[in-house]
Symmetry: C2
Subunit: 278 residues, 2 copies
């Protein structure tokens, strides 16, 4: 058992894993976590009344992340996954302070480590929201793991709206992806690895992979975070399937309707609880 | 002097006009107001920490509109303009209650009246955010003014993101506008008038007018609201130019940087005050 969780008793393993996001994109992370932790239960909170975080200031995003952490800790979770790149960028420190000694996994560091491991050339691309790009969060994390790596990054704000509209595989999505990615990948020494630095972006994986070809490795934050969580968490050994409870700060029906774009299973609005967080 | 403002004294005419929006799109309304009221001063509040409103529930939007009204009344304004279609749809009643007896102008009714006046066929198109479209606010307002008018409406969520990204006149904007508007305008009996039912959309006027031709009249909410305000407000008779003070709930620098997409004059971040509204 790893040193950092030796004080968690057996009964603690039954606790759910807490996952929060600015809204709905974090469902791609939840999907990856459920795949890797099939016997775990999850609490998912989407801050749909205040989304999106990607265009907001560091101080505002940190304040939102703190309020969501306070809420998620009420559910006696055994770990917290910050399933939003922007909240991970600006709020992870605050979340860790509040949730200590529970393990806290953000989106940035796991994806940076996975990209370093996957890349042969150590030239890595990052596509993310403008907030994440402006923060240089990926650059900082990548250089921490490998001082020789090179980063090409692009803020792809429109993709969030396209993903939420369900326009993930049409000509407009294709033209938008070209406009954002061509300047990076049409250079002589192009990246061989691309971090999808926003939880909305996995819906574009088929189109991006078709555009870039299979010589470019795509890094999905949810997958990378799952691998990091496997390293630090004592998992539930019961063979029963875990349960997931959904909480949102705005209309549960809208959340349930839109969830299908990011999540394979159908979510009924009856299974989504409206909560008030300010 | 109209009956409803006879109790406003001369000194009251020096008071500013309050304008609020979910963020930055309301600057197109402010621009129209400043054109029609060159001697008036304005207070503009953009709720940039909680934008956008277009995808949020009626109850949440009404709560946000109330908090902004409370804030704007602190500035002793002589009228309130709700420069956001979604806030007008869900929050106008609450704003009027709070601001009474001051005149309150929303975006829906002025645009509906202007469209009825402009349309020969009385078949009117509306493009707006999904929140405004789902509410049937324009349908209700149009039928109130003319029971025989016909409405074709479309939710154009992506356009908000395109406008904020500054992609208002490229091939992606054109393809997106075609995808939204072609089903309405490629019918035998197409509308002859189109309401731009979101304050972000005036940035697309050149492209829309080019696509639809000049036989379709475009209704700009800011222009329509200015005409309604002229009817109810005793204006400042001083010949000096009015001043405008800007307040936002998130990063003033980001607001100032993005303002240029929606507003002709340059706004310096030093002229924008950060306020906390919850």
């Amino acid at each position: 058992m790893p040193e950092n969780i030796k004080n968690i008793s057996n009964s603690d393993t039954d606790r759910p894993i807490g996952v929060f996001d600015s809204g709905i994109g974090g469902l791609t992370v939840l999907k990856a976590l459920q795949h890797h932790f099939p016997h775990e239960s999850f609490i998912y909170i989407g801050d749909t009344a205040r989304l999106p975080y990607g265009t907001k200031s560091p101080a505002t995003v940190a304040r939102y992340a703190e309020s969501l952490t306070t809420e998620i800790l009420r559910h006696e979770v055994k770990a917290v996954v910050v399933a939003c790149n922007t909240a991970s960028t600006h709020g992870l420190h605050a979340v860790k302070n509040l949730a200590s000694p529970l393990p806290v996994i953000g989106m940035i560091d796991p994806a940076a480590k996975a990209a370093i491991a996957a890349s042969r050339s150590k030239h890595i691309g990052v596509m993310a929201t403008s907030g994440t790009i402006k923060s240089n969060a990926y650059q900082t994390a990548l250089l921490q793991h490998n001082q020789n790596c090179k980063l090409s990054s692009v803020a792809c704000q429109i993709l969030v709206a396209l993903a939420e509209e369900g326009w993930a595989d049409d000509d407009i999505a294709r033209a938008t992806l070209h406009k954002y990615l061509d300047p990076i990948f049409h250079q002589a020494d192009a990246p061989d690895t691309l971090i999808l630095g926003c939880t909305h972006f996995p819906v574009f994986i088929p189109l991006i992979q078709e555009m870039l070809g299979h010589s470019v490795t795509l890094i999905n934050s949810g997958e990378a975070a799952s691998h990091d969580l496997l390293d630090v968490l004592e998992t539930n050994t019961k063979s029963t399937q875990g349960k997931t409870a959904f909480f949102v700060t705005d209309d549960p029906h809208r959340f349930a309707d839109n969830a299908a774009k990011f999540y394979d299973d159908r979510i009924s609005a009856d299974d989504v609880t409206l909560i008030d967080i300010r």
